[in-house]
């Protein structure tokens, strides 16, 4: 299965014995090689547990987990040869400087002393850390530390190239907008090199920006899976927004527009009428004609996709959780 980088089937993990909480509750996930896969979910959804299992740090209680064609438990060494990990907290030796860190990790990746040195220089250069000198990491700023951490996670493999699969656990949490932009551009540059990236995030924008496919995770399982567009379609497809000149005419407009009445919502303050539509063009021309015929003046009529926020709230909202069997 050369074109599948990650397979997770029915992964379960419970912390703290029998009475413990299910961190993963039968999670399934498939990630195609060379893609960026976003795992989106609120705090406590099981995102970090999933990353720790994928990166061989933690064993699932049951289920099958494969990374780069190898089982994470039985072939942990083979997996470790091929992965990079950026955890939520900096995984660096704070007492040492940037180069010392990267050279150490390079040696431990068995690049050998000379190539570890070359690779360290290369990565320091790539992440704008070449002039940090002998300063120990504990004196780095948050953004610098994150970049060095990312560089360390790319130390890669025996060939001195980027790893085959990279795990990023909330890579931009705690970073300012500039730091976030830096991490984003680094992730985008990786994909060009053929690296498969699995990133977890709480930020919808981040998943929307970076990920080819997104899995929405809640309470230890995947509640939805697809491209950003497919997920947006899940909430009931496109919407039409109509802004009227006069809020007093909203009621009249709702009555006469050719839209399903139960799917229309009205926002008086914004003089806005919004509705789910199935046939985009028919709805648009129907609305425009009906408004003209009735002499109601509109400021704006627009078709739009639902935002990922709407999808996320829809999927992880309480109304959705009630439907799940306990």
């Amino acid at each position: 299965m050369a074109d599948t980088a990650i397979i997770v089937e029915g992964a379960r993990k419970k912390y703290g014995g029998k009475a413990g909480k299910n961190a993963l509750d039968g999670l399934d996930l498939t990630v195609a090689a060379g893609t960026v896969h976003g795992v989106l979910g609120p705090n406590g959804a099981g995102k970090t547990t999933l990353v720790r299992i994928l990166s061989t740090l933690l064993r699932a209680d049951s289920g099958r987990v494969q990374v780069a064609g190898h089982d994470v438990v039985r072939q942990a060494y083979e997996v470790r040869l091929r992965i990079g990990l950026l955890g939520q907290h900096a995984a660096l030796d704070e007492e040492l400087d940037g180069r010392q860190n990267l050279e150490m990790f390079g040696r431990l990746h068995h690049l050998g002393g000379r190539r570890a040195g070359v690779r360290a220089s290369e990565l320091l250069e790539r992440f704008g850390l070449a002039d940090t000198g002998r300063k120990p990491v504990k004196q780095y700023s948050g953004g610098m530390r994150r970049r060095l951490d990312l560089a360390a996670s790319l130390i890669g493999n025996r060939h001195g190239t980027d790893p085959q699969v990279l795990f990023l656990d909330e890579p931009t949490t705690g970073l300012d907008p500039r730091g976030r932009a830096e991490v984003w551009s680094a992730v985008r540059s990786l994909v060009g090199g053929g690296t498969t990236v699995l990133l977890t995030t709480q930020y919808l924008e981040e998943a929307d920006q970076l990920a080819d496919r997104i899995s929405v995770v809640d309470a230890g399982r995947v509640t939805a899976d697809g491209t950003a567009d497919e997920l947006k379609a899940l909430t009931g497809g496109d919407r039409i927004d109509v802004v009227l000149r006069d809020a007093g005419q909203l009621g009249a407009a709702v009555a006469l527009l050719p839209l399903p009445k139960d799917a229309v919502s009205v926002d008086t303050d914004r003089r806005l009428l919004s509705a789910r539509v199935t046939d985009r063009m028919a709805a648009l021309s129907g609305v425009v004609q009906a408004l003209e015929a009735a002499g109601i003046e509109a400021e704006d009529v627009a078709l739009r996709r639902p935002t990922l926020d709407e999808v996320f709230l829809h999927l992880t909202g309480d109304d959705n959780r009630v439907k799940e069997p306990a």
């Binding site: 990166s55 740090l57 064993r59 660096l92 150490m104 431990l108 068995h110």
Partner: protein
């Protein structure tokens, strides 16, 4: 390279990491060496003592202080392992194709080196204070060997306890407990001078055996107390080495 060659290379990399830490914090390294010397001076002069000791007290005290320093090494090991475990860097090590045990080997080599330096510092000060060694070079090296063997046992107890405790708060509790265990020995005074039950505890303390054997070897006064000083550390190692290694391997559970 073979698996063994990788294991060696990884262990060396991890040892170099510890040495790089030393180079970054020379003051800490010196303080760690000064501390046992300070204790030696304190017990030798400030508190005086040597209850029940015949002959020169420094000849009695110094081997005891050497053994005590080896016992106190337990704390240092525990603190270092706990700090490592509570930093993210251990996750990076564990997610890499390195020999996992190399983390522990690096710790061991660094701690043993540190302890050897502490022995040297103490013995240097001891000579300056008039400590006399009559046992000959072989016995001298034997004594140093026994002291380091005892330290090696303490090292693996320290690693195991750190892995079990996990958090720095629990390390503090052990740190405090090391003191009575260190002092409930014959390092400073003869058990015969103590109340009966205390004398018994002191005689059973593995550290007392190491101190006694070291004393005999340095003085050249026989080897009949030697075996317990060999057997006790080996016994402790037989228990705690596999426990520590097993515990480390189970971090993923």
């Amino acid at each position: 390279m073979s698996t063994n060659a990788y294991a060696l290379a990884d262990s060396w990399t991890m040892t170099r990491r510890e040495l790089a830490h030393w180079a970054r914090q020379p003051v800490q390294v010196v303080v760690a060496l000064v501390f046992p010397v300070m204790l030696l001076l304190m017990f030798g002069y400030l508190i005086g003592g040597g209850r029940g000791v015949e002959g020169s007290y420094i000849d009695y005290l110094l081997p005891g202080m050497l053994a005590l320093t080896m016992a106190f090494g337990l704390e240092g090991t525990m603190i270092a392992v706990t700090q490592d475990l509570n930093k993210g860097v251990i996750d990076r090590f564990r997610s890499m194709p390195m020999t996992n045990g190399a983390v522990l080997v690096g710790r061991s080599v660094a701690d043993m080196l540190q302890s050897a330096l502490a022995l040297l510092a103490l013995m240097g000060v001891g000579f300056a204070l008039g400590w006399r060694v009559d046992g000959g070079p072989v016995a001298f090296l034997g004594a140093v060997g026994l002291l380091l063997l005892f330290r090696f046992a303490m090292l693996w107890i320290g690693i195991y306890l750190a892995l079990v405790a996990g958090k720095p708060e629990l390390v503090q509790a052990v740190q405090i407990l090391v003191w009575p265990i260190g002092f409930l020995s014959n390092a400073l005074a003869l058990p015969g001078s103590m109340p009966g039950w205390l004398g018994t505890v002191v005689e059973w303390n593995p550290m007392s055996h190491t101190a006694t054997a070291a004393r005999d070897l340095f003085r050249g006064t026989g080897t009949e107390h030697l075996w317990p000083a060999v057997v006790w550390p080996l016994l402790l190692l037989a228990v705690f080495f596999p426990l520590a290694v097993g515990r480390f391997a189970r971090l993923s559970r």
